[in-house]
Amino acid sequence: MLNQLLRRILLSLIALIGITLLVFILSHVVPGDPARLAAGPQAREAQVESVRKEYGLDKPLPQQYLIYMSDLFQGNLGKSLQSRRPVSEDLVDYFPATLELTLAATLLAVIGGIAFGILSAVHKNEWIDHLTRVISLGGVSIPVFWLGLVLVLIFYRALGWLPFGGRLDPSLSPPVHITGLYILDSLLTANWQTLGSSIAYLILPAVTLAFSSLGVVSRMTRASLLDTLQEDYIRTARGKGLQERLVLMRHALKNALIPVTTIVGLQFGGLLGGAFLVEVIFSWPGLGTYAMKAIMFLDYNGIIGVTLLTGLVFMIVNLLVDLTYLTIDPRIRAQ
């Protein structure tokens, strides 16, 4: 098992290097001159040249890649053309916002999705099943952009229940940067005002983002649970006179959740990507906002930095999912 894990980590690292090469090539074949974009439209030739030199853009492409990689192995992600500071500093500023949003959405999708899935499976073909199926189907098929705006129109504009735009009431200062996750940092520093405000600001974007995954998780839970309920051992459990609730929760659900776990791991990646769109609508200062500007400016280091980090997180989450199997399924542990 340990061997397998090490092999997975090694493969992940190779994939990450592959990502750098791919993104490096892709971003460089896009026509455009980042030095000129960074120097500004009215900059004189000499200034454009000096930017080009400063960022090493005057060197041949393979050499630029080698320089980038050797810096990378020393933990240096290079300097961003658009923000003119180290990419690592930018990521420390922007990534926690995206992570907080994605984690909240994952939590909502998992809890809500499993709950809906169980309800559907238990009340198969009853009205409650139809309702949750409609909601799930809606979740999968409604565009995030539209859903976000509709939720905003209802809960912010019409009812005025929830705030909108940003991560925190602009009159408050963010909590002391410990993890960069506002909710966690507020808790750690016992700053109740920022805690309340950051939770309130998180609700709408998190629900918007969670909605599509909630549908997938709920469909998966339903199908998997229905399958499991057909198994012989469930019949045995019922036969020995166990309460239906216990049969469901203890015997069926545990097995039914194994495929759901896989889906959650994959969904997390999807949510991380989906967050980019949600961030634009909700003016959420995360990686999406940063990546968009990096792409507009052809900020190579910024683009590669974002892709690498997203890839890394995706891989870590899927490794964690693999580890979760071990705890859920004794059969895998035994192998």
């Binding site: 026509p31 900059a43 504009r157 109740w192 309340g196 634009v280 500007k293």
Partner: protein, 538 residues
Amino acid sequence: MVTIQKKLRFWGMLLTFVLLASVILGACAQPTSTSVTPVTLTIADALQPSSLDIATEYEAAAMAVNRVVYERLVRYKGNSTEIEPELASSWDVSTDGLTYTFHLRQGVKFHDGTPFNAEAVKFSFERMLAINQGPAWMFSAIDSIQAVDDNTVKFILKQPFSAFLPVLANIWGTGIISPTAVTSNTVNSDNAQAYMQDHMVGTGPYKFVEWVHGDHITLERNMDYWGGWPESADGKPIDKVVIRFITEPATQRLTLEQGDLDIAMNISVDDLAAVSKEAGLVLVEEPSMMGTYIRFNMTKAPLDNKNVREAIRYALDYKSIIDKIMLGHAVEMQGPAAIGLPGHNDNLPVFSQDLQKAKELMAASGVQTPINLEYVYETGQEDRRMVGELLQANLAEIGINLTIHTLPWESIWARVSAEDKSQTPDLTANGWWPDYADVQDYLYPMYHSSQWPPASLNIGFYGNPQVDQLLDQALAENDATARNAMYEKAQQLIVDDVASLDLYQKTMTIMMHDWVKGFVYNPIYTEAFNIYDMRISK
């Protein structure tokens, strides 16, 4: 069995608790701040600056903060391009136009307590010139700076440069920075560039508080401001300024309507009419000096023929551009320089379509029709695409087939600066806005024959020795009347030579609540606000 149930119950309770707590805390968050509510002005801007360093910043996004945190020696007055004192109380210019002596305001302090003096002025400019980025090109005329005494500073120029005062009044590179803040934060002789990236220490009416990257910048009122804080019947002075970065226009609109914003800078043009009808919201629409024009490649047949160029000039339907393409949010240009700039020639013709005349000119040109021409515009500039399509339809009437191509600016630049001038498109659309209020910033880079690409932006290869001479003379002429006469003559010659199709100047559209009082738009400080004079009356 029980454990799973317990676990589920635990998570259920936790979730309920978190949701409850959020509602309660969210509700609590509001009333606590009512004890001493600072008067806050919240502005939404789609763009976030890259950096706050006054020495390197050269982008519209940084204008709003720079205008009120830093101060310059001189500034543009109110809504005009007239120069008035800011940190300098008065100035003299030597008769040869080479020495500018500024007498400084006394008793001014930087936000960190450092006294403002002549050394600080010298220090600021020398730092900006040493870093030599962004706006530095505008100051290439400076030879040396001398702090004569505490309150007097002298700028010695290499050659006479009549636009020097307008340059000093512009936002880029001109703000005076606290020398103490720079020297105490310099690391590896970087002139404190790393520190000044997200710090600002000036003398202005507002102090920099924080920059939450991607979210907002906060400024607060400088109670020790040398100008004091006079009472006004308009309302209360602004204690706190929050500039929020909201890229999505729909988000700006919603938050503005809900009252979470006082000012929105980027409401979509399609929404302007609807939003401005709402009670309590005001649309401020002012002309900008941002010109859009099309340049002819004058080195290549048939556009080397003046009659053909003039035929195109009369074939174009200018009225439709303003009404249908720009939806009324633009005014037609009058000649090659923006209306409103000092030195603009107000007697030039404003053209309108005259197909009859266009056909006659085509016939007089002796060029065989049909002819094929190429129009190129920068990718993403939707208005220029529509102008191209209109021009295509108009030119078809006089026997010209126009093909339209879109390219990223770098590719356009590669084609206009190619050695072989036949590579340059026949017609190239472009835009320009002045960095400082002088018509020289329009005419020199775009029409002087020394400014053909790659030197600068004379992308139509226009050259007229008489125009060159006038522009050179005007640069050295210190008498404003005489200088303006030269500029006006030059503009007339450029129009007579049909060097360009001068299209339109967009208007700036800003939506605000009616409780925001005292905003005065300045056509050079386009993206900035006179927050010191503004008041809130709720």
